[in-house]
Symmetry: C2
Subunit: 236 residues, 2 copies
DNA sequence: ACATCAAACAAACGACTGTTTAATCTACCC
DNA sequence: GGGTAGATTAAACAGTCGTTTGTTTGATGT
């Protein structure tokens, strides 16, 4: 681990656990290779669908390396999000600030929505099967009622999500907040389903519609969502 | 097994496999109890997140009963969909026919979308945590790139989905088909995410927005989607 | 009373699960 | 060189995985 200060004397097991919790900062190439392998395998097969041996084999690393660098399988997932989610959330906020500034404080709804969705669909390396591995993983976790998944997603994206809800509320003064919140939820659904790129819409449309094409997806998605957001508030 | 015609003499193993494949028709209460337990457990923890022992324990059934009634774990999932998906797809088609007839062949977009989404959010028993277990399971499988999940979802819902795409195309003659197909994809995303009811939007809105409330969800969702579908086609 | 057969059963199969141990290797500082 | 912290390793841990086995139960039809 990165900080191996005190070695034992007292309760070896618990002490070791604590030390491993705070794995971060420095790291060899093994750590990064594990993260990459886990990113792809978790995305394709889900957390419980992949064993540590599959990950370590793909990363060409010893089995114990995961416990060593990340403490546990759950710790690996947390570290993966810590490494991959932050750039996305930051780019979101950067784009929001950019379009807010360019519009003298009142950006167009389309630009806000684009700032929210674009980093999610474009950042990170593309996978051979279309789309981004981390996006797929996020989509998976988004349908997960499990506590760990919720906690990790909230930690990574709650702040930027709340900021964007505020931005949309400000951009649409005639729409009550509850309506905006529902519509934000529907937007999240469309976004996650596009990230998941499960192949279903390709099958339904003989390949004409491909969510793995991020540019085209955004091109269709933003006007669709904007129209939904702008529609009259529902009665009652 | 359901059909124990030829007892062995030849290769016992393969013969037994084949026999078990076609488990159906007759059934005791055990079969249904297994389906119910699997429905909830698969929905909460995913296919690979639950062991057969957990399912059989919840169903108060012997471990071997799953192999006996469904052949395998995958077979159990297929049987579950065969039992639960058909009523939803049928209700969809029924509602579509109903609103088509009521409008003399040209139903309003809102009614088409409602016919598509409503059965998914309302049919089946409600779970204590809000929403329907089978809906949650569908949402899970919808983000799954795995072959089995795709096959099962396609088998259950391809027909009705394609019929609804046609209905929407007919209802919106000024929107080109590719645009409709993209928007249908976004609708699926919103629908699945509502079914998943992961608790995220509740957390973001301090509980004001609750996708587990099917009536309210539909009430907000249909106008949102309709506005998106009706927005002008995107250029190029 | 006997035969038949779906249904349920305990027990075991080998393979795989996440995690831990202790030994080994590597590289840098004194 | 010696010392040592960090990284990596093989091996084993106790469980659980999905599946298969051979047998027993309980009801049905004859």
């Amino acid at each position: 681990m990165t900080a191996l200060k005190e070695h034992s004397s007292t309760s070896t097991t618990t002490a070791r656990r604590k030390r491993r919790k705070q794995a971060s900062a420095v790291s060899g190439p093994a750590r990064e290779r594990i993260l990459q392998a886990a990113e792809h395998l978790f995305a394709e097969h889900g957390m419980s669908g992949v064993g540590l041996r599959t990950i370590t084999a793909a990363a060409k690393v010893n089995l114990a390396a995961i416990s060593y660098h990340f403490g546990s399988k759950d710790g690996l997932l947390e570290a993966l999000f810590a490494a991959r989610a932050a750039p996305i959330a930051e780019e979101r906020m950067r784009l929001l600030a950019e379009c807010t500034k360019a519009a003298d404080g009142s950006p167009a709804l389309e630009n806000i929505l684009d700032a929210f969705v674009r980093p999610t669909l474009t950042l990170g390396p593309q996978t051979p099967q279309g789309g981004h591995a981390f996006g797929r993983l996020r989509a998976r976790l988004a349908t997960e009622p499990e506590r760990l998944a919720r906690k990790i997603l909230a930690k990574a994206f709650d702040h930027s999500s709340k900021m964007f809800i505020e931005a949309i509320v400000a951009a649409l003064p005639e729409i009550p907040r509850p309506d905006i919140e529902w519509r934000f939820h529907f937007m999240l659904g469309s976004m996650f389903y596009t990230m998941a790129n499960s192949g279903r819409i390709q099958a339904l449309t003989d390949g004409r519609c491909d969510p793995g094409d991020a540019q085209r997806a955004l091109h269709h998605m933003i006007p669709f969502l904007a129209a939904g957001f702008r529609s009259p508030p529902v009665p009652e």
